[in-house]
């Protein structure tokens, strides 16, 4: 299946990439998507995950066509 990956803020800078389209096996979690999109890097402990713009856990199941976003703690307001 195909998922769209997005990285934001300091994570985007660290990875040198703001996103990618990833091909991954039919059964995958957000953590699996991270591994593939980051080229096998360990996910920093404070990274937040959103699937289709809703906060999710790293172990949430990803479906074909999903948008999976990874970002550092938020600092708006």
């Amino acid at each position: 299946m195909t998922v769209a990956v997005k990285f934001f803020a300091s994570l985007k800078e660290q990875l040198g990439c703001d996103g990618a389209t990833v091909e991954i096996g039919e059964v995958a979690t957000a953590a699996d998507v991270w591994l593939q999109a980051s080229g096998g890097k360990a996910m920093p402990g404070n990274v937040l995950v959103a699937i289709n713009m809703e906060y999710s856990g790293q172990n949430a199941t990803v479906h074909d066509g999903d948008e999976v976003a990874f970002f550092p703690p938020v600092t708006g307001g």
Partner: protein
Amino acid sequence: MKIEVRAAALDPWREVADYEQAQTALHGAAGAAAVFVGSMRDLNEGDAISAMTLEHYPGMTEKHLAKICTAAADRWDLLDTLVVHRVGELHPADPIVLVAVWSAHRKDAFEACRHIMEDLKSNAPFWKKEQLQSGHRWVEKNTAGY
């Protein structure tokens, strides 16, 4: 209810005045308006800050702000809510965020305004990068609100 993420400059008091004026259902019904405006400081953690860049997650930010405001309207007795948040480059004293809440009574307005602001700071996908004399740095966490 209005939610806006804006790259252009924000004049928060004008924004509140214009919105309130236009929402005629508030007139005579809203006994209370509680408003919070967060602005850029020229100092953070002891360092002078000359500029700031606010990044967000387009789509998710607006969706999440709407969810926060809807949750507040379920919990308190509110007549209307307005949230405007800047993105892009900001300078000291520039307004960053406006949260305005109207209610018949002040208790609901005060509590909902503060709650929306805390939820926004804790959960809405915005990130601040500060420009210092020595380079830039990402803000890693917000100060405590309670």
